[in-house]
């Protein structure tokens, strides 16, 4: 108890020295937590991009549709699946999709396209399709007054075929039963711009696409958004057990190449973070060491008047620990709002980046226990670690030697 009081007093006695030490620790902490936040944030951002864009966190297909898509590999009982998914707590939402290559015709031109039939209602909450509509409207799923279904087309199609809102779009493809699929749709909206990933896609209401391809009641893909994206793998495994006849994959499998390159990137990042932490440690080492060493004379006197070496060593460690804790607290006070702002608003980019139709205008970070907590623990632990041998050494010195030193 006495020791604690002494430790506290010592800290405040030498204000300048304590302040500098505290600043270096707090500053180091802020740097580390910011770096972590930036690094985690950029990965989360990248992941959110395509998972929210169209991949979702988990996908369900029939057999190996993902590796070798063929029109006949269909999920034949989507309503049962939807029931199961709606009942699960971890699942935020899901949507159903149908795919087929097709050729789009206008009066004079034709162009190859990918047809995607989507459950328009569910798609709203599971992907960013609605936000990508750049002109016209997010179509409705029913027939219009003339008995036609509406379609949303990519900007590339609108450009190649020279068609726009209200114009007729003809699609020709091959049905699941081998017949020639052909029908007319009315353009209700345009998606993205000429550089988007979707530029050659035609979106139809699910039912329209199913009729077109002679596969009513069947779908190719179920895409699922979870409440917490980190559960992707776990949820996929759990769902797979419940749906043994289908293929359930987490986004890491669906977007394998992207995932792998992100992992590679992460490795490179770890090295940079490591270096930063190292430097912060050196700074802490420097200040802690110096703070202790410059008081050698003081400790000499203490010893001379009878203090036990153990007590001295303990006091040194206590001081360092207390100082470190207070610094971390101060650092947290600064980091928390800073990183909070960074996560919510972020830095504005010089030029907004268009990633497949979604415009990314800011770099944002991530606020989490990992980001705030890890550097905190690391610095306190390290400071304590440093203080132990230093303290022991200081405590062992003979009083006469101590008082002679500078």
């Amino acid at each position: 108890m006495l020791l604690l009081k002494l430790a506290f007093r010592n800290i405040f006695r030498q204000r300048r020295r304590s302040l500098l030490t505290a600043l270096s620790m707090a500053g180091g902490y802020i740097l580390c937590s910011f770096s972590f936040s930036l690094s985690e944030g950029s990965y989360s951002n990248a992941i959110s991009f395509f998972t929210l864009d169209h991949t979702g966190h988990v996908q369900i297909h029939m057999e190996d549709y993902l590796q070798r898509p063929k029109i006949h590999k269909t999920i034949d009982d989507p309503e049962r699946i939807s029931e199961i998914l709606d009942a699960r707590e971890n699942i935020a939402s899901h949507t159903l999709r149908v795919f087929a290559p097709a050729i789009a015709y206008s009066d004079t031109d034709n162009t190859p396209t990918q047809l995607i039939g989507v459950d328009l209602e569910r798609e709203r909450t599971t992907s960013t399709l609605e936000q990508k509509v750049s002109s016209g409207t997010y179509i409705s799923s029913g027939l219009d007054s003339d008995g036609y279904y509406s379609a949303m087309i990519g900007a590339g199609i609108a450009n190649s075929l020279n068609i726009g809102m209200g114009d007729e779009l003809i699609l020709i493809s091959q049905g699941a039963d081998g017949s020639v699929a052909n029908d007319i749709y009315i353009v209700g909206g345009i998606v993205g711009n000429r550089n988007s990933l979707d530029k050659s896609t035609v979106f139809l209401p699910l039912q329209a696409a199913q009729e077109f391809l002679s596969m009513t009641g069947r779908v190719h893909e179920v895409s699922i958004l979870l409440e917490d994206e980190n559960d992707s793998r776990a949820e996929a495994i759990s769902l797979q057990a419940e749906l043994p006849e289908l293929s359930v994959d987490p986004w890491q499998e669906v977007e394998l190449t992207v995932y792998r390159s992100m992992q590679a990137d992460k490795q490179g990042n770890v090295i940079s973070l490591g270096i930063i932490i190292f430097i912060v440690f050196v700074g802490v080492l420097n200040t802690v060491l110096m703070s202790v060493l410059e008081r050698t004379r003081e400790f000499g006197v203490l010893k001379a008047i009878g203090s036990r070496p153990t007590k001295i060593a303990l006091m040194i460690s206590l001081e360092t620990g207390l100082l470190a804790s207070m610094s971390m607290f101060a650092g947290l006070l600064v980091s928390f709002p800073l990183i909070g702002w960074f996560t919510l608003y972020g830095f504005e980019l010089a030029e907004p980046m268009d990633v497949g139709g979604i415009v990314m205008s800011h770099i944002t970070g991530e606020l989490s226990l990992y980001v705030l907590g890890t550097p905190l623990l690391l610095i306190i632990l390290f400071a304590l670690l440093i203080s132990i041998p230093t303290g022991i050494r200081a405590a062992r010195i003979s009083p006469t030697q101590a008082m002679r030193s500078n």
Binding site: R16, R17, L20, T21, L23, S24, G27, G28, I30, L31, F34, S35, L38, S42, T111, G156, N159, S160, R194, T257, R260, S261, Q263, A264, D265, Q267, G268, I271, S272, I275, I276, F278, I279, V280, V282, G283, L285, N286, T287, L289, M290, S291, L293, E294, R297, E298, V301, F347, L349, A350, E351, M353, D354, V355, I363, N406
Partner: protein, 407 residues
């Protein structure tokens, strides 16, 4: 002069502290050099992945070609362009290509894909096609040769020597054209986009199938002696080539997203560097103060006998300068050594099961002049700046207070 000598001697009074301070500053500098080198290496890696696999550092097309890669939009005046290219000294090499979508059939299956007609010899200096070869032989100019991506070869159930029939529309006329090729090699880029969809043939054979003449080309791919030329839209070559019909663009213009990623990386290194140095400055201040406290009795004495405050302040500043110089020397040396190691051996990016030609997995850190000129200058400036506060404090010592200090 005297002050300098004095400052120098003062450093040795407390070796331990001096060493600690030098270590702090020196390591920070070394760290900054190392991280900068790694960042540069990462960017180069990324750029190389984009450019050297197949896309090259710059490309020339007919205006409008890149919209839909329409086989009908080709350059008519290849000979003129080649002449311009040959005369340009900033170019290391170039190559020509024709390309078209095609249906690719084997005896067993049919698949849609992309036909690339390439100049086999020139292609060697521009892309990694030859390195991607895993079976068979590289293109040697024989007409019926064809290289196919390995996953496509699996789909079509073919191997070396098997027949391939390409069906496509002739450029310009749209007439049906078919040609027989034989698989002479299988390639594995390690990228599904390439392995699933591409076939490569000699450009002369492709032109024949497409009904194109020697003067007609879809694409020129360029490589510069200095990669910076490719990134600069003002480069003379681009100015010469660009007109209403012809479009010459560097890879940065062709892949805007990479440019942004580079900006982001540079931006974050800037922030990290700034904060790092701020921390180092704190250490410097701490160290300076401690050295002043130790000698506070002395300072009291010399002030009492008449030394000007400015002289004391200068002394401190000189000490800081010397420390900074020593630290920079050591830090630069250490940074250089680390850089030497990492630039030769590289930093492996973990266990990659899918390492392929397209993904060179080692980051080789890079040296750059600024690392050894700009950074040390910043360090010196910052150290001196940090020393100003302690220096002023020392200058303002009241002799009577100082002389009373015992402990």
């Amino acid at each position: 002069m005297q002050t300098l000598k004095l400052a120098f001697r003062n450093l040795f009074r407390n070796i331990r502290r001096t060493i600690l301070t030098v270590m702090l500053i020196g390591l920070s500098l070394a760290a900054l050099i190392a991280v900068d080198g790694i960042m540069r290496g990462m960017i180069t890696l990324m750029v190389e992945n984009v450019t050297s696999t197949i896309s090259g550092e710059a490309q020339i097309h007919r205006v409008g070609f890149r919209e839909n890669f329409d086989v009908d939009i080709y350059l008519e005046n290849s000979d003129e362009i080649e002449q311009t290219l040959r005369q340009d000294s900033s170019l290391d090499s170039y190559t020509t290509r024709v390309m078209s979508g095609a249906m690719i059939s084997s005896s067993y299956n049919v698949s849609a894909g992309l036909l690339y007609g390439v100049d086999a010899q020139r292609e060697r200096t521009i892309s990694k096609l030859e390195q991607a070869l895993v079976r068979g032989e590289y293109l040697s100019g024989t007409e019926s040769e064809l290289l196919m991506g390995h996953t496509m070869a699996e789909l079509l159930e073919v191997g070396l020597g098997d027949r391939i029939v390409l069906t496509l529309s002739e450029a310009g006329t749209g007439e049906l054209a078919q040609a027989l090729y034989r698989i002479s090699g299988i390639v594995d880029f390690g990228m599904r986009e390439l392995d699933d969809n591409f076939v490569f043939v000699n450009i002369s054979a492709a032109r024949k199938t497409l009904g194109m003449t020697d003067l007609q080309t879809h694409e020129f791919v360029l490589k510069f002696h200095d990669p910076a030329d490719a990134e600069n839209p003002e480069t003379e070559l681009f100015q010469t080539l660009n007109d209403e019909e012809t479009e010459a663009l560097g890879w940065l213009d062709l892949n805007r997203e990479i440019g942004l990623i580079i900006q982001l990386t540079e931006f974050s290194s800037l922030i990290v560097g700034a904060i790092l140095f701020l921390l180092a400055s704190l250490g410097v201040i701490n160290s300076m103060f401690m050295s002043i406290y130790e000698r506070i009795y002395e300072f009291g004495v010399i002030k009492a006998i008449g030394t000007r405050p400015a002289a004391i302040s200068n002394l401190i500043l000189f000490e800081a300068l010397l420390i900074a110089l020593i630290s920079c020397a050591l830090g630069s040396a250490l940074g250089y050594l680390i850089g030497l190691y990492t630039s030769n051996y590289g930093i492996g990016v973990g266990d990659m099961e899918f390492s392929g030609i397209a993904f060179d997995n080692n980051i080789f850190s890079e040296f750059h002049v600024s690392q050894f000129t700009q950074f040390p200058v910043y360090v010196i400036l910052l150290t001196i700046l940090a020393a100003i506060y302690p220096a002023r404090f020392a200058a303002r010592i009241v002799p009577s207070d100082a002389l009373q200090r015992s402990l």
